[in-house]
């Protein structure tokens, strides 16, 4: 497949735009000196990913991504940033001095992952995308074939919820606790 063939496909144009958005915002996520900006760039990267998923006709996953991530997780992040008074202005030391070794490690991983993708899949095409995966199929699969992980993941969420609240909440002083116990009884 030549470059000309590739460009001839209109979906690839969409891909190119989305991929550029994702790559640039991902880069900004890890280089931005402002935490809020970083979080917002993550939103952008995720939105781009959701677009990619639509392109790959995975509508349900795309909307889950938007709802769960952009809707909930990012809000959580922003709260986290506010509460921990993370540095929000520029010119703050948010990075280590050891950028070079970190970049080396990341580059090694990139070589390994991208390299194996290239050798394994060469110029394999994604075709016959059809009308996309129906939500019905996904729902059926989730509640039949994957019902056990589906149930178990609810426990993961419950555990994270209960444990997270317990860890994050401010402890009452012993005196306050006594008072509360008294009112309980």
């Amino acid at each position: 497949m030549t470059v000309a063939d590739w460009i001839a496909e209109p979906t690839n144009w969409v891909y190119l735009v989305l991929a550029l958005v994702i790559a640039v915002s991902a880069l900004r996520v890890v280089t931005s000196t402002n935490v809020v900006h970083a979080a917002l760039f993550l939103v952008l990267a995720l939105a781009g990913t959701a677009g990619l998923f639509l392109l790959l006709s995975a509508e349900f996953v795309a909307w889950v991504l938007v709802l769960v991530y952009i809707g909930a997780v990012i809000v959580l992040f922003l709260f986290g940033i506010m509460i921990t008074r993370a540095p929000t202005g520029p010119n703050v030391e948010v990075d280590h001095q050891r950028r070079a070794p970190a970049a080396m490690a990341a580059f090694l991983i990139f070589i390994v992952t991208a390299g194996s993708a290239l050798t394994a899949f060469g110029d394999k095409q994604i075709s016959n995308l059809g009308r996309g995966t129906s939500t019905e199929v996904i729902g059926e699969q989730l509640l039949q074939r994957f019902v056990i992980p589906f149930e178990v993941v609810s426990f993961v969420l419950l555990a994270a919820l209960i444990g997270g609240i317990t860890l994050a909440r401010k402890d009452a002083t012993p005196a306050e606790e006594m008072a509360r116990e008294g009112s309980d009884a």
Binding site: H96, P101, A102, A105, A106, L108, I109, I111, V112, S116
Partner: protein, 676 residues
């Protein structure tokens, strides 16, 4: 030399057809010998403190049971021959290998049961007196029982796994016992040292066991030995490796060079422990292992025997020399044990199965006796050092006379036990053509006699240099010594070439009989030389440490030897004359004899004595203390130092950890993609 084809013939020739076997209740229940000490151990741990003697009576009772039961088995063996392997209890599986508990009663093991049981009984009884009033009597007897029990477990093993369990049990309990007086830092570290050195050698045993078991498909010793005899391809290729690895394990337990370093330090333990450890348990385990696996060494791994005999010979001479310069009476005996073990190992290496075991048998009696005697002395003068002793002959007559009996037996003086066994070992060297080893053995005999004479003279003769008033030990201690003294005298009469060779037959009954040469009569030249060497050794000791007053005063300070005979030996000769032996033949002949005596004969003897001391000093100072200890400590230091370096990887910074994780994963992938 032994040939494979002889095996079938040997089976009918050597061992008598065993009369006792399956169905005999004594043999079926022989596992009690092993179990009773462990039950006693538990009983002592749980109830010992509440008993009047704090648990000692349980220990002695258990050992009495073992001794009596072993005696019954032994008598059965003597009268008819036993050969019995109990039905093993399978307790688990490692892959295709069964882990089994079982018990073997045959010539070899019944001899060991008796030695262990009898010695343990006598020594435990002795310990009742020796350890009286000690802070941890209960704990001591518990560990001591465990020690004896582990040894019995080892001896009874029909398979290598059980053998290893007993083996490690012996190591563990010896660690507890050596470190018994742990308030003294040196003692607890001596215990650790024993444990570590043993453990290092044990790797050889464990890997060796696997090396042999895997091609055979079984850990049973009889299966392995059968495979050796049947000579299949599979085991032939690994027999040599397996034999050497097993022997490395044996070197650790039997304190063979260069693993001997732990044994003298192990003297830090209470004396009864040393006595049992040196006489019957632990150090004999290695000899037992080689004897048990003897067909392997005799046949397939014949080349491994070269290593065995070399190590044995080196050990016997080096340790003997070391014994000469020790001041601590127990260390003299410790090095002496190492040296005697060298004899046993070298004998087995030379293919002389009976000779090696015979020396083990006699050595058990006299070395046990000597340690008990030393303990009695230490108990009395509250010091281990011979420089604090002297002149104890009078206040401690029983100890003195029994100690002398032990000394003569160890020195190999006719007709005591050591004479017969050492002679058989030397004769075997001669017969198998190991002339160099024979020479070393004879020199060793001289040295043995020399340092033992030195010990006796420094301890029991001269004037008392310690504090307080030495006194004879109580009956509970002296009676075991007297019994052992009796055995040290008569113990060798069970195997007199040409006269009565019962011992050969006793240890001959086993599933895989041993084909070896048995002399019809004494090897007279070797006997004469060996005995002479021993006598010369005693004479040298006598001259240096009894007659030579200055040496007596200065003890181990070195003196110029050439002046010494001139000054002192006239006096000696005078004394000899006054004794009335040479007086009647005064005159030129007497003068000639006198001259020869003082210049040639004495010169040789004393010169040899001096040389021995000098060499020993060098060996001890440079080699043993510095070389091997340094190597060992260096090893500990290096690993520790490496630990100090590797520790630094743990920087505490989570992102560095993450980086290491990521890079580790990436490098693994890259490595595999490239190198596949």
């Amino acid at each position: 030399m032994i040939k494979l084809t002889n095996f079938a013939i040997a089976a009918t020739e050597t061992g008598r057809a065993a009369q006792y076997g399956e169905g005999n209740p004594f043999l079926e229940w022989a596992w009690l010998i092993v179990i009773v000490p462990f039950l006693a151990f538990l009983a002592i741990v749980f109830f010992g403190k509440r008993l009047p003697r704090r648990g000692g009576e349980i220990a002695v009772g258990a050992m009495a049971f073992v001794a009596v039961y072993a005696a019954v088995l032994f008598i059965m063996n003597v009268t008819g021959g036993v050969e019995f392997v109990g039905d093993p209890v399978e307790v688990g599986k490692i892959g295709t290998f069964a882990i089994e508990w079982g018990w073997v009663v045959d010539g070899l093991s019944s001899m060991m049961y008796l030695v262990v049981g009898l010695l343990a009984f006598l020594i435990f009884t002795y310990a009742l007196g020796y350890m009286e009033g000690d802070v941890r009597v209960t704990w001591f007897f518990a560990a001591f029982t465990l020690f004896a029990g582990s040894m019995l477990l080892l001896v009874s093993a029909p398979n290598l796994i059980q053998l290893i369990v007993g083996w490690e049990g012996v190591g563990l309990s010896s660690y507890l016992l050596i470190g018994h007086y742990w308030e003294d830092k040196e003692n607890s570290s001596a215990g650790m040292k024993a444990f570590y050195v043993n453990k290092v050698a044990d790797i050889g045993l464990i890997i060796g066991a696997f090396v042999l078991a895997i091609p055979v498909g079984s850990f049973r010793i009889s299966d392995i030995l059968t495979a050796v005899v049947d000579n299949p391809e599979a085991i032939e290729t690994v027999a040599m490796v397996g034999a050497v690895l097993l022997f490395i394990g044996a070197m650790g337990k039997s304190a063979q060079f260069p693993f001997h370093v732990w044994l003298p330090d192990a003297m830090a333990g209470p004396t009864p422990v040393s006595a049992l450890m040196h006489a019957a348990t632990m150090v004999t385990a290695g000899v037992y292992l080689v004897a048990r696996m003897f067909p392997l060494y005799a046949e397939m791994a014949a080349d491994a025997r070269g290593l065995v005999i070399t190590i044995g010979a080196i050990t016997l001479i080096i340790a003997g020399l070391l014994a000469v310069v020790q001041d601590d009476i127990k260390k003299v005996l410790a090095y002496s044990t190492v040296s005697q073990l060298g004899y046993m190992v070298a004998a087995l290496g030379a293919g002389a199965y009976t000779a090696g075991l015979f020396h083990l048998w006699t050595h058990a009696f006299f070395k046990g006796l000597l340690f008990l005697g030393a303990g009695s002395v230490i108990h009395s003068v509250h010091s281990n050092n011979m420089s604090d002793m002297g002149g104890l002959r009078k206040p401690m007559p029983v100890t003195f006379s029994t100690f002398v009996a032990g000394t003569l037996a160890l020195a190999g003086i006719f007709p005591l036990a050591g004479f017969f066994s050492k002679d058989e070992v030397l004769a075997a060297f001669n017969h198998e053509g190991y002339t160099a080893v024979l020479v070393i053995g004879i020199i060793g005999a001289f040295i043995t006699a020399f340092y033992m004479a030195r010990t006796v003279f420094l301890t029991f003769y001269g004037t008392y240099k310690g504090h307080g008033h030495p006194h004879e030990s109580p009956k509970v201690m002296t009676v075991p010594m007297m019994i052992l003294a009796g055995l040290a005298v008569v113990g060798g009469w069970v195997n007199i070439p040409g006269l009565y060779t019962g011992f050969t037959e006793w240890v001959g009954t086993r599933a895989h009989p041993i084909a070896e040469h048995h002399a019809e009569s004494f090897d007279w030249p070797v006997l004469a030389i060996g005995l002479t060497a021993a006598l010369l050794g005693i004479v040298a000791g006598y001259l240096l440490y009894f007659k030579d007053k200055q040496t007596q005063l200065e003890r181990d300070t070195f003196r110029i030897p050439l002046l010494w005979p001139l000054l002192e030996h006239k006096y000696y000769l005078d004394d000899l004359y006054l004794g009335g032996i040479v007086n009647p033949i005064k005159g030129p002949i007497a003068r000639f004899v006198n001259w020869t005596n003082s210049y040639i004969f004495d010169g040789i003897v004393n010169g040899a004595g001096f040389l021995a001391r000098a060499v020993a000093g060098v060996v001890y100072g440079v080699f043993d203390q510095r070389g091997i200890d340094l190597a060992l400590n260096g090893l500990a230091f290096t690993t520790d130092g490496a630990g100090g370096k590797t520790r630094l990887l743990q920087t505490g910074k989570v992102q560095q950890y993450a980086g290491a994780t990521v890079i580790g994963a990436a490098l693994l992938v890259i490595g595999f993609v490239i190198f596949r």
